[in-house]
């Protein structure tokens, strides 16, 4: 069973649709900690404001539930940011699973913020990226991004490099949206579901 953590954030439907397209069975949207803990894979989605999302996660006690998980967990976009130490968006302390902070893109001439569209990923590590060529394009929509750190498993450049994805133990996170990244995104989701992570 794949549990998608339901903490009243947007974007859940597109994740469910993407899992359906790759033939994933038994996908459950839930806020029940016991059910989440019993899943083989857990996905923490997220769209919107990091501090509001963190507050919603805490209010339902799901932050402690997520931190204690032992199976592979994938955070997507804001879901991943909540797994970092701290976010500048709303100056909020997050779960501290990944060893880095999330900061706003620094404005500079010609740099579009939000970072929106297809950008390439480099220095790919872990089986999450099995079968993905260096320089592949994935879809991003965000104004805050995680720093590079020891947990970085892919890098993207937008006015400087940041972590496009992170991993620490059984925890994984992508700043990009695999569910909107065409066939490349589908391979990444399939890797998350099928590979030994």
């Amino acid at each position: 069973m794949i549990a998608i953590v339901d903490y009243s954030t947007g974007n859940i439907r597109s994740v469910i649709n993407a899992l359906g397209r790759i033939g994933a069975k038994d996908v459950v949207l839930t806020s029940d900690p016991a059910l989440i803990a019993s899943a083989e894979r857990v996905i923490l989605p997220g769209v919107g404001d990091a501090s509001e999302s963190m507050a919603a996660l805490k209010a339902s006690g799901l932050d402690e539930c997520v931190k204690a998980l032992k199976q592979p967990v994938l955070g997507i976009c804001v879901g991943m940011q909540l797994m970092c130490r701290h976010s500048e968006e709303g100056d909020v302390d997050c779960m501290g699973i990944f060893d880095c902070d999330v900061r706003r893109f620094v404005p500079q001439p010609g740099l579009k913020i939000p970072h929106m569209g297809w950008n390439s990923i480099a220095d790919l590590r872990t089986p999450l990226f099995d079968g993905i060529p260096e320089g592949a394009f994935v879809y991003y929509v965000h104004s805050y991004r995680p720093d590079l750190c020891a947990d970085t498993i892919c890098r993207t450049d937008h006015g400087g490099e940041f972590s496009g994805a992170l991993s620490h133990g059984n925890f994984y996170g992508t700043q990009f949206h695999p569910e909107k990244s065409g066939s490349i995104g589908e391979i990444i989701l399939r890797n998350f579901i099928e590979k030994a992570l």
């Binding site: 939000p114 929106m116 589908e186």
Partner: protein
């Protein structure tokens, strides 16, 4: 570096695409989902579905179509046409649209941009402006270019950005359908004055026109309908040519 985007636009009426679409080997060309998937497989970076329905009944069909599109397409898609309230936008978001584009309704009621952006985020709202030149000034029009307004292009685009629009889709009604190319200086000025991405639309007749608007015109994306639908410019070939011109595109 963010890739320049190529965006096919499909006109939908009562759940079917209405412009002649000419994909080799595709017999039934009216199904928007099949066409969307086809464009997605060919390397389109995003899709725009424009609802040109005339009746309420057809509009209802469109909303249910959006949810089937969302289930079947793995790239971002925008829906537009007839969105005049936050409830319209909410319905389409619930159906699975990644973005909505608003045009005439935002000119009538600019606060619509603020309310959609503050509820769903700037990434969810595209401001579409159709404008034509009148005595040397670019003036926005409504209702598919048929009615003039008093909104001047550059100030209206800036206002829409400040109100929370996340992207600008600008169509020159003087160039649309001419196949003679885009107003490059106008696009370059928009890129200078705005911080949000600019999508160029209307006027392309060949690959060179698209290359120009993405370089000299500094647009972030090019949207087109008939040149893709007719099969005249296949997207894989277009992208190959753009790469030869050193324009970053996703292959």
């Amino acid at each position: 570096m963010v890739a320049k985007r190529i965006i096919p636009c499909l006109d939908v009426k009562g759940g079917r695409t209405v412009k002649g679409i000419n994909f080799v080997g595709l017999r039934d060309v009216g199904d928007p989902i099949e066409l969307g998937r086809r464009y997605s497989d060919e390397g389109a970076d995003e899709l725009v579905f424009l609802d040109i329905s005339a009746t309420q009944e057809e509009r209802g069909t469109f909303a249910s179509l959006v949810s089937r599109i969302a289930e079947n397409i793995s790239i971002p898609f925008t829906v537009g046409g007839g969105i005049s309230s936050i409830d319209d936008a909410a319905r389409l978001l619930d159906a699975g649209a990644d973005k909505v584009s608003v045009n005439s309704a935002a000119i009538r009621n600019p606060e619509l941009i603020d309310s959609i952006a503050s509820r769903y985020g700037s990434q969810f709202i595209v401001i579409a402006i159709d404008a034509r030149q009148v005595d040397g000034r670019w003036l926005a029009t409504t209702h598919g270019g048929t009615r003039p307004s008093d909104k001047e292009l550059f100030s209206w685009a800036k206002e829409a950005q400040d109100r929370g629009a996340g992207e600008l889709l600008f169509t020159s009604m003087d160039h649309d359908g001419t196949r003679a190319g885009y107003p490059l200086e106008t696009y370059a000025r928009l890129a200078d004055e705005l911080s949000i991405p600019v999508i160029a639309s209307g006027g392309a007749g060949n690959i060179a026109h698209i290359a120009e608007v993405l370089t000299t015109g500094r647009a972030d994306a090019a949207l087109a309908a008939s040149i893709f639908h007719s099969g005249e410019i296949p997207i894989p070939e277009l992208k190959k040519e753009l790469l030869k011109c050193k324009i970053p595109v996703r292959i």
